[in-house]
Amino acid sequence: MKVLVAVKRVIDYNVKVRVKADQSDVDLANVKMALNPFCEIAVEEAVRLKEQGVATEVVVVSVGSKACQEQLRTALALGADRALQVEAADGPDSLSVARILAKVAEAEKPDLILLGKQAIDSDNNQTGQMLAALLDRPQATFASEVKVEGGELLVTREVDGGLQTLKLTLPAIVTTDLRLNEPRYASLPNIMKAKKKPLDVKTAEELGVTVASQVKLLKVEPPADRKAGIRVSSIEELVDKLRNEAKVIA
């Protein structure tokens, strides 16, 4: 079967973001960018399905400016077969991305679409579910285990309070949680080989999608600072402070 994986270029998760002085957005100039960690897990899962002989082809797609080709090359180095960049200004909203991905899916006809559960920049956790809705296909979010069994998909999901296993008809959309797998590192030879793998570029217009967000960003501020705390020297002092100063324990 064919697997489509959607990946996003985001700020590296170790970078502490700074808000711009004019409060228009966070400052992404000269900041280290990377593949969104959940997307990396999605690519890894697709590659593992291929290694098991379940998947025949793994296609990665990213929506964004030319810079996201770097992340597509990373995915190719991890084992994806070919890539597609859908050219759009950076930062389209989830619904626009879902519409674009739906068009890509209609053309590619994958049996399984993998996405990360959320991007660590917008923290939305929406695109996979929206894509499933637009394609009218089943969804399994927050997956920690994925198995293909007799033309159906068995997915274990991380839910509040524990785990839940669903059976889905294919084609289906799955979003990955942290514990689905441990992504591999790209080896140098694979990074070199990835440069020769096909990478197509299309525009949102070519796919017949207009990127227009109905959610307007008015301002971005840094979070309120917590006032400086104090160091205590013993448990006795700590318990005393909690009882008599903070009054949070009896």
Partner: protein
């Protein structure tokens, strides 16, 4: 203007997250209806009708909605949507699962995890793991929103007298079904609703050592949380993870034991009223957000803490 709140429940009673979501709805203003979707959930309706400020309780009780399968729940919600300006659900795994599906079917955007209502179309939400706070305006006719429950107080469980209406629509798309469930059993308070939370990280070193925290938790009536490192090391199950991608908590007291304080963990707990950190590394970033920090070996400090309570 009317608001539909899609409730979270366990087929017997409403979960506290619903009460926080109703509070957010009341800040938007307008009449509030509560939707209860489930299988064998009629008992919830009686308690829901008493929640302060509710106009109507809608009950969709059918096997098709067992475990709130996203495809079926979303299909039902979009049928009810034309009567409402706002659709709200708590930002639990359940709400996060079906709400974006609802939004896309209605062809509108979604605003996730709001922490403040500025006006009926303008909301505040954290981005970048809580390192930036965004104010966003929705231009859509129907606002689809998930609510960070720890950012809103709970409304009173009593005092209301809503009418209860049974819904006859059954939406069974047959696209997915539940095979099994494996729920962690715990007598401690629910992590996201607890007044006190004590969490352990990699510094706990083993699964067995979490018993040290359990003893303290029992004395404080606290819930137990964990950092991702502790979950990945297999010390505790993943539903105990506090952080950007785990649970978001804001208790009165949060005690972080053997947790360094990575950005991703802080995103899940830095709105706690009082934060205590116990760590042997005095340079650990957790001390930058802690109100009270103790540099000590947790294996000595935690048993001592338990004795002094």
């Amino acid at each position: 203007m009317a608001i539909l709140v899609i409730s979270e429940h366990d087929n017997a009673a409403l979960k506290p997250s619903t009460l926080n979501t109703v509070k957010a709805a009341s800040e938007i203003g307008g009449e509030i209806d509560l939707l209860i979707v489930g299988s064998g959930c009629s008992a919830v309706a009686d308690s829901a009708a008493k929640v302060a400020g509710i106009r109507k309780v809608l009950v969709a009780d059918n096997a098709a909605y067992d475990h709130e399968i996203a495809e079926n729940v979303a299909a039902l919600v979009i049928e009810l949507a034309p009567g409402y300006s706002h659709l709200l659900a708590p930002a639990t795994t359940n709400g996060k699962n079906f709400m974006p599906r609802v939004a896309a079917l209605l062809d509108v955007g979604q605003i996730s995890d709001i922490i403040k209502v500025e006006s009926p179309d303008t909301f505040v939400r954290p981005i970048y793991a809580g390192n930036a706070i965004a104010t966003v305006q929705s231009l859509d006719d129907t606002k689809v929103i998930t609510v960070r429950t720890t950012a809103f107080d709970a409304v009173a469980e009593e005092g209301g007298s809503a009418t209860v209406e049974s819904l006859s629509q059954v939406k069974d798309l047959g696209l997915s079904r539940l095979i099994s469930e494996d729920m962690a059993v715990s007598d401690r308070p629910e992590l996201t609703a607890a007044r006190v939370v004590i969490s352990g990280g990699r510094g706990m070193a083993s699964k067995e050592n979490f018993e040290l925290l359990e003893k303290v938790a029992d004395k404080l009536g606290a819930a137990i949380g964990a950092s991702r490192a502790a979950v990945d090391a297999g010390f505790v199950p993943n539903d105990m993870q506090v952080g950007q991608t785990g649970k978001i908590v804001a208790p009165e007291l949060y005690i972080a034991v053997g947790i360094s304080g990575a950005i991703q963990h802080l995103a899940g707990m830095k709105d706690s009223k009082v934060i205590v950190a116990i760590n042997k590394d005095e340079d650990a970033p957790i001390f930058q957000v802690a109100d009270y920090g103790l540099v000590a070996d947790l294996f000595e400090a935690v048993p001592e803490l338990e004795k002094s309570l």
